[in-house]
Symmetry: C2
Subunit: 349 residues, 2 copies
């Protein structure tokens, strides 16, 4: 890529590089207004643009943040990225995006690349298989600000933006119980990511608090991706194993949509025979039949807050002030749609 450099402007005008540089920056009394006007005019003519990377070498900032997400083709993460991009842009930062493809080894590699690239800070949502956090601690040791969002590791010492997965799951299952459901299955995520664990714990606690005995055989584990296929195949097993199940709380909307697809195929009525509750509020949940009751997980706000905290921390560091890490919980809510009963059981009697 070719642009006029300071030296080209200086040569064209027959003045020193220092004069050109001062003229472009402005505010120097030893450069006359006439000279300044000439320099600016020539800069336009020669299509001079300040070199953002040279600025970096002067300020030690790249004005670039790195983001590592598990996967790009994912409605929730695309909404989070939207929030990150919007906040970064408003505050003058570029965003480099890398995917870990839910692989721990790739996640490590991507972080190394971002550190080599000298990004000012890193935002990350970890993979479902990440259970060693040395690579994240290395970022912090390297004095690069790090903010985790959505899929986090509690023990890593940095700021975090999350939802309260346990409470959201608790609310979802309590909602089902209040509708009169007693035999509530849970299609959970895999064993490692914190949000999958927390959603399971919220499910279990809601049963306990409502005197419903926890039944391990009603818990089905989805694989690492927790997707449509998992919902579909586990729904098949569920109706074979438990002909009296009355509802399912799924770890994600995609899993819930797989369940709906299977139940529709075998003509089990939703919600009358089996109610279905999702998690995340993907757009798809509004178009499937029946529409899906779910937990709204505000992705845009999660991304925006994560980027905002990271950029705030960069400013603190620049000002030589101490950074105080914070964990922000973004509130969730229940979006009631057709896949659960519209009336409370007591109203039905």
């Amino acid at each position: 890529m070719i642009n006029a450099k300071l030296i080209d402007l200086a040569t064209a005008l027959g003045v020193s590089v220092t004069t050109v540089s001062k003229a472009l920056k402005g505010g120097y009394s030893d450069v006359s207004e006439t000279t300044r006007a000439k320099v600016i005019e020539m800069a336009k003519t020669m299509n001079y643009k300040p070199n953002a990377n040279a600025v970096y070498l002067r300020t030690n900032e790249t004005k670039t943040i790195g983001v590592v997400i598990p996967t790009m083709v994912h409605h929730f993460f695309s909404i989070v990225l939207n929030g990150i991009l919007e906040e970064a842009e408003n505050r003058g930062y570029f965003v480099i995006i890398l995917q870990s493809n839910e692989k721990y080894e790739l996640e490590k590699k991507q972080i190394d690349l971002l550190i080599q690239k000298r990004v000012d800070g890193i935002l990350i949502s970890i993979t479902n298989e990440t259970d060693d956090f040395a690579h994240l601690n290395a970022i912090i040791k390297n004095k690069t600000p790090l903010v985790m969002f959505d899929k986090i590791a509690k023990i890593v010492n940095c700021s975090k933006v999350v939802i309260n997965d346990r409470k959201a799951a608790y609310d979802a299952v309590t909602f089902l119980i209040k509708k009169g459901h007693k035999k509530i299955a849970h299609f959970r995520g895999s064993y490692t990511p914190q949000n999958s664990i927390d959603r399971f714990l919220g499910y279990k606690k809601a049963l306990e608090d409502n005197n419903i005995k926890f039944d391990q055989t009603l818990v089905y584990v989805c694989d690492k991706n927790a997707d449509f296929e998992d919902g579909y195949s586990n729904a098949k097993k569920l109706v074979q194993d438990h002909d009296d199940v009355d509802s399912v709380f799924a770890v994600t909307d995609l899993v819930a949509i797989g369940i709906i697809k299977y139940l529709n195929e075998i003509k089990i009525e939703i919600p009358e025979q089996i109610a279905v509750f999702g998690f995340s509020n993907w757009f798809m949940s509004t178009v499937i039949s029946p529409t899906l009751t779910t937990i709204d997980q505000p992705g845009f706000e999660i991304g925006q807050r994560a980027a905002s905290i990271l950029i705030d921390e960069l400013a603190e560091i620049k000002a030589n002030r101490d950074v105080i890490h914070q964990t922000i919980e973004i509130p969730t809510s229940i979006i009631e749609r057709e896949s659960t009963l519209r009336k409370l059981k007591t109203e039905l009697i």
Copy 2:
């Protein structure tokens, strides 16, 4: 972000910065193997990482490409980005992503930012309202390689990766006609983007070639975003205006899904009363009821090829060879699902 610098290593070892630099690069006969080993050891101890931005100032490359897409929260573009990220990563490039939010002014601004950032090249899919291409010609004038994908402007002199929208639409409508449909509506995109124009022209040509008179009142225009709401509201108008319409070809899957939603609500049977044909093959099309017949638009391949061509062009420029622009057409195919009749009309008789 703090990392040990060359000078820190030199000070720690009591040697010159030049010696450290040569030792790290290797291949210099005036630096002994013993010294080299010591430098490498110290670099590890002090967590020295080469500065990717300093490399830029040496080679005039940033190893970064910029991507401008209309919107991040969009299944098709997230698949395209996946292809871009994978190709860029395989070839050692970082990717900075910016959104234009379908706004021409923002698109211009994003391009300015990328040029200031000195990205090596730019990939762009333009907004639905972009009808002036001076900002794109400026990139080319600036000698920054540019590759357009999906939503392109034919008159801009650069490489392009597209599908043949006109042919794909022609194939879709011909498919409907072969199934016996005669009164085929088209929900088209807005008037500016080339792909919306081409899909409309393909629709029209298929009618003509099959001796079906083109009827302007069967064409409904979606707004700039061509989304679910457009499909839903235009479907409502369509059934009011034309009680004998037998099929709809929609400009995107989202529009088609809006149609399906409305027809389901008013109990019009799909495909028996009205068949629906989409465009793009979003994941959603496989889970909606009935599942949607559509054109498969291979987003991953589009992204991968666009990034690949851009990086090839960068290599050509670096080698001082002429760049020959190319326009690549990625083949599309029809994915037949439940929303169109499974049998040909002739078979039904």
